[in-house]
């Protein structure tokens, strides 16, 4: 049997930190004379209490050395705990959401998916708005920690590829987490601040600037307006958010390298090149279509399509306007991009660019093998040959991804959703994208009218996608619980 004490200790620690974050919305609400502040305070105290109990109850475990299985358990249950704790203000605050809705909103927050089912955001109390932004921002930290410290070790979908970049092999999980918190997290924090300042200068109020800075860097996408970014009608704001999302979808290791002045590593990073290339290519294609087929003006069309492509690719979900009215080609492109996602080591979701690169390299190789069956060919990544095992893991990942998509779409339609919304919502949830790409359920649409069962399914899908499928799948393997 696995020793659960370090896991509980870890969850307690996470929960305590999470509780401290609740002080921020409490403070904001208190200052705005909004009656919600005691709720945040009470929820914070409850979480802190529960967290401290877990920490102290498991304090006698001196070894903080997490095994593989404990790491998986910590990731899975840490996330679920955060989702449960985060729903308290939604459930008991002024909003009085039902349990399902509160959980949905909270899961959408901590997985940085940010598909919302709240309406009339513009009139909502500042505390709740800040809380939603904070949830996704904290979720973003979790994603970064996961992709830098846990996934490479487990080789989830070929993430082994990135192990050498993040840390030395002999490092233990906690040490690596610490180094991560000092490095990548500093970058995360600085970028948030930078975006906050830029948005403030571009004309947002400080609170909305903070909310959108957090939303874009974490690739979340909760906005403070029902019209999302379209509310401001400001190209400057559009460009800043665009920049924020693009930064959020790029590897944070690279941002760290840039900060330390190591430009050469950035230039040699093929994943980044593909990422930017894909954004430009898709945006240009959509712009061309809009200009030719719908007589749009080139420059605004370019801005809107760049924004839409970046938002979808990074799994953010901000929208400058309702793309679902772009029928046909742009919608098809955006739908397919949903599955691609941003770079590994970023806060984005989806398949991730490096997997796409490996998959295409593999497919090309397969064709060459058909021609020369006896040649020894290995796929390459960044000029280095990639082992057979990594290639297999990536393809296994693709299979599980597509299988989960099919099952989730079927389940959603079984509980009453139509064909296109079911497909769009399933793809969006698994890729942690807040906006649904479908003709009838657009990026500005609310999930409020969905059946209750669909909300639960989507919430499960978000967590499944966030944990890169295999972390959760491992729990269902018989081997996991055996010694």
């Amino acid at each position: 049997m696995i020793d659960l004490r370090p896991v509980l200790w870890g969850i307690g620690l996470i929960l305590s930190l999470f509780a401290l974050a609740m002080a921020a919305p409490a403070l904001v609400d208190w200052q705005a004379r909004d009656p919600d502040w005691p709720i945040f305070l009470a929820s914070g105290c409850a979480c802190l209490f529960a967290g401290q109990i877990l920490v102290f109850a498991n304090l006698q475990v001196r070894t903080r050395q997490f095994s593989v299985r404990q790491g998986i358990l910590l990731a899975v249950f840490g996330w679920i705990t955060l989702a449960l704790a985060g729903c308290l203000p939604f459930r008991f605050g002024q909003l009085h959401l039902s349990f399902t809705d509160a959980i949905f909103e909270s899961v959408a927050g901590v997985t940085a998916t940010a598909s919302t089912q709240l309406r009339h955001l513009d009139q909502m109390s500042p505390g709740i708005l800040l809380w939603r932004a904070l949830l996704q921002w904290i979720g973003g930290i979790g994603v970064l920690a996961l992709s830098a410290a846990v996934l490479p070790d487990l080789n989830v979908g070929g993430m082994l590829l990135f192990r050498s970049e993040t840390a030395r092999l002999d490092d233990r999980l906690i040490q690596r987490m610490r180094r991560l918190l000092s490095g990548i997290l500093t970058v995360y924090l600085c970028l948030t601040l930078l975006l906050f300042l830029l948005l403030w200068i571009a004309g947002m109020t400080p609170l909305t600037a903070l909310i959108h800075a957090m939303g874009s860097i974490s690739c979340g996408g909760f906005s403070s307006s029902d019209q999302s970014i379209g509310h401001w009608h400001s190209p400057a704001i559009d460009w800043v958010i665009l920049l924020g999302m693009a930064l959020g979808g790029a590897p944070f290791i690279l941002h760290w390298q840039i900060a330390r002045g190591r430009w050469r590593q950035v230039a040699g990073n093929s994943q980044l090149r593909w990422y930017l290339g894909l954004i430009l290519l898709a945006a240009l294609a959509i712009t061309l279509w809009l200009v030719i087929a719908q007589d749009a003006k080139p420059l605004p069309a370019l801005r809107h399509s760049l924004f839409a492509v970046t938002s979808v690719l990074t799994g953010t979900g901000f929208a400058t306007w309702d793309w679902s009215r772009w029928t046909g080609f742009p919608l098809a492109i955006l739908f397919l991009l949903t599955f691609v996602g941003g770079c590994a080591g970023s806060t984005s979701g989806g398949l991730k660019i490096f997997r796409l690169q490996l998959l295409l390299a593999n497919a090309k190789l397969q064709l060459r093998r058909l021609l020369s069956p006896n040649a020894v060919l290995l796929p390459e990544f960044d000029g280095r040959p990639v082992s057979e095992e990594i290639g297999e893991s990536v393809l296994g990942y693709l299979f599980v991804y597509i299988l989960s998509f099919a099952l989730l779409a079927m389940a959603l339609s079984l509980v009453g959703m139509e064909f296109a919304p079911a497909l769009g919502a399933a793809a969006a949830a698994l890729a942690n994208l807040g906006a649904t790409i479908s003709p009838s359920l657009g990026p500005l649409a609310s999930f409020a009218l969905l059946p209750t069962a669909a909300k639960w399914l989507l919430a499960a899908g978000m967590i499944f996608g966030r944990l890169e499928f295999f972390l959760l799948l491992a729990l269902f393997s018989r081997n996991f619980w055996r010694n």
């Binding site: 593989v68 098809a332 998959l359 190789l365 021609l371 299979f399 779409a409 064909f419 996991f480």
Partner: protein, 491 residues
């Protein structure tokens, strides 16, 4: 320029021409069947068929003669690729002739779409008013499918394993010491299989005529079911006929989607291969699972009578999973679930070694095994694991090619649906039509292509793209893609 000595091509094209010539000649002879039928009943299509047969025969002979080489006939890997791609395309083009020349006067793109849809056993039709269509045309469509099915069965044994596409090499006779699935004497086996195929068709058409169809309808539907094509003789597809006929077609489609080689030699050694074949079990289990889900939907949500719900669900899941595409009714107004299910099932397909399209059950078995392997490796990074199929260990190369196939399949699907969206289809139709074409299912969902003869309304460019998609899917992706690879033409 077709001479190898002239430089440019480093491989001999003559065997490819020769094989194509033979194929076209067979097609020309097959045109005699509707011709004779038309002469017998006086349908007025005889001139079209006679002219088409003459043209085909001429081309066939010309190719055969120009490709005739000295020494025994044989194809190497590249030639086999080229033959499978060119043969299917050529047969599709020539098969369109009677449809264009006949009384229906289909436009070129429509006729080619219809013919390629038949030869690839897809069954997506652009023709409406089938109930009043001439008998010769109907039998020709069915015959094209049937020949396409026969071609697939033969190719699955003779060509594809040689090409090592998507793990097909495990069916290769040379590797039978590793994975013994097929008897070694291939040509005899192919003969047996085709006899079985013909016998089953005959049996099914007899049964269908007993169930109330007339002779023409019975033969057409029997051919359509066993080849997992999906062309019907009525716009209403199977809804026109009795429920018994529907169930008989279910059996036919079910058989069409299985690996017929299992029936040729059912007892091997002391073990019943039928019972031990994991692919067959998975195939049946998948069908059962989808049928149960759909039954639940039709019964509990739509509110149909239990008997009708079971019938409809069984029919639908077998029809799509075997990639036939017969319809018992339109899916309009029954909510999203049947639509999503049809879409998802289009990607699954039947067993390998059958006439069905799609990714195929065998590859899913391997993919599941690889995912389990991945989880196991996560938990035990230093463990040594392997994947097995039918209790035999699969070599690494098979895993690789199955995974490559899966990836390529989705790349093709994404490209095709994007292309369809560019030429003006709505998102739902472009996704569904792309899945139905590459999977050789033929039946799409949605208000445009989900209804009878719905493909008729598509723009010409979409029909063209879909015809290419069908060929790509039927040829298991690789032949067409390899032709695109620059390295294929060099050395």
């Amino acid at each position: 320029m077709f001479c190898p000595e002239a430089g440019g091509f480093l491989f001999d094209l003559r065997p490819v021409l020769f094989a194509n010539g033979l194929l076209i000649s067979v097609l020309a002879v097959a045109m005699g069947v509707p011709l004779l039928l038309d002469l017998a009943i006086g349908g007025g299509e005889s001139r079209a068929f006679a002219a088409s047969a003459a043209i085909s025969l001429f081309i066939g002979f010309a190719l055969t003669l120009s490709g005739r080489g000295s020494g025994p006939f044989g194809l190497n890997g590249r030639q086999a690729f080229l033959f499978s791609a060119s043969g299917a395309t050529l047969a599709g083009l020539l098969g369109a002739l009677p449809l264009m020349l006949g009384s229906r006067h289909l436009r070129l793109i429509d006729a080619v779409f219809e013919s390629i849809s038949a030869i690839t056993t897809t069954g997506a039709t652009v023709m409406t008013g089938l109930d009043q269509a001439p008998a010769a045309i109907l039998i020709w469509r069915a015959l094209l499918q049937w020949l396409g099915g026969a071609g697939v069965i033969a190719a699955a044994l003779l060509l594809l394993p040689m090409l090592r596409i998507g793990g097909m090499q495990i069916f290769r006779s040379e590797t039978s010491e590793r994975v013994e699935l097929m008897p070694t004497r291939l040509p005899r086996l192919v003969g047996k299989l085709l006899t079985l195929y013909a016998g089953l068709t005959l049996l099914l058409s007899l049964a269908l005529s007993l169930a109330g169809m007339n002779a023409l309808e019975a033969i057409c539907h029997a051919m359509s079911s066993l080849s997992t094509g999906g062309f019907s003789t009525s716009d209403r597809s199977l809804a026109k006929f009795s429920s018994l006929a529907g169930w008989l077609c279910v059996i036919g489609m079910l058989l069409g989607g299985t690996n017929l080689a299992l029936f040729v030699n059912p007892k091997r050694g002391k073990k019943w291969r039928l019972l031990r074949d994991t692919q067959l079990r998975w195939y049946l289990a998948t069908i059962l699972a989808f049928a149960l889900l759909l039954t639940f939907w039709y019964w509990a949500v739509v509110g149909q009578l239990p008997q009708r719900a079971v019938e409809q669900a069984a029919f639908q899941s077998v029809s799509i999973l075997s990639t036939t595409g017969f319809r018992l009714s339109d899916d309009v107004g029954w909510g999203g679930f049947p639509q999503v299910t049809i879409f998802v099932m289009s990607f699954i397909g039947g067993c390998i070694g059958s006439t069905a399209g799609g990714i195929k059950i065998f590859r899913y078995e391997v993919l599941f095994a690889i995912s389990r392997l991945h989880v196991a490796r996560m938990l035990h990074p230093h463990g040594v694991f392997s994947v097995s199929f039918n209790r035999l260990r699969l070599p690494e190369s098979v895993l690789r090619s199955v995974l490559g196939f899966f990836m390529l399949y989705f790349v093709c699907f994404a490209l095709l649906s994007t292309g369809l969206a560019i030429v003006g289809l709505d998102p739902l139709s472009s996704l569904s039509a792309a899945a139905a074409a590459i999977g050789n299912v033929g039946r799409g969902v949605g208000p445009v292509i989900g209804v009878a003869g719905g493909y008729h309304a598509l723009p010409d460019a979409a029909k063209f793209l879909l015809a290419i998609g069908m060929l790509v899917g039927r040829l298991e992706l690789a032949p067409v893609l390899v032709l695109l690879l620059a390295g294929f033409w060099k050395d």
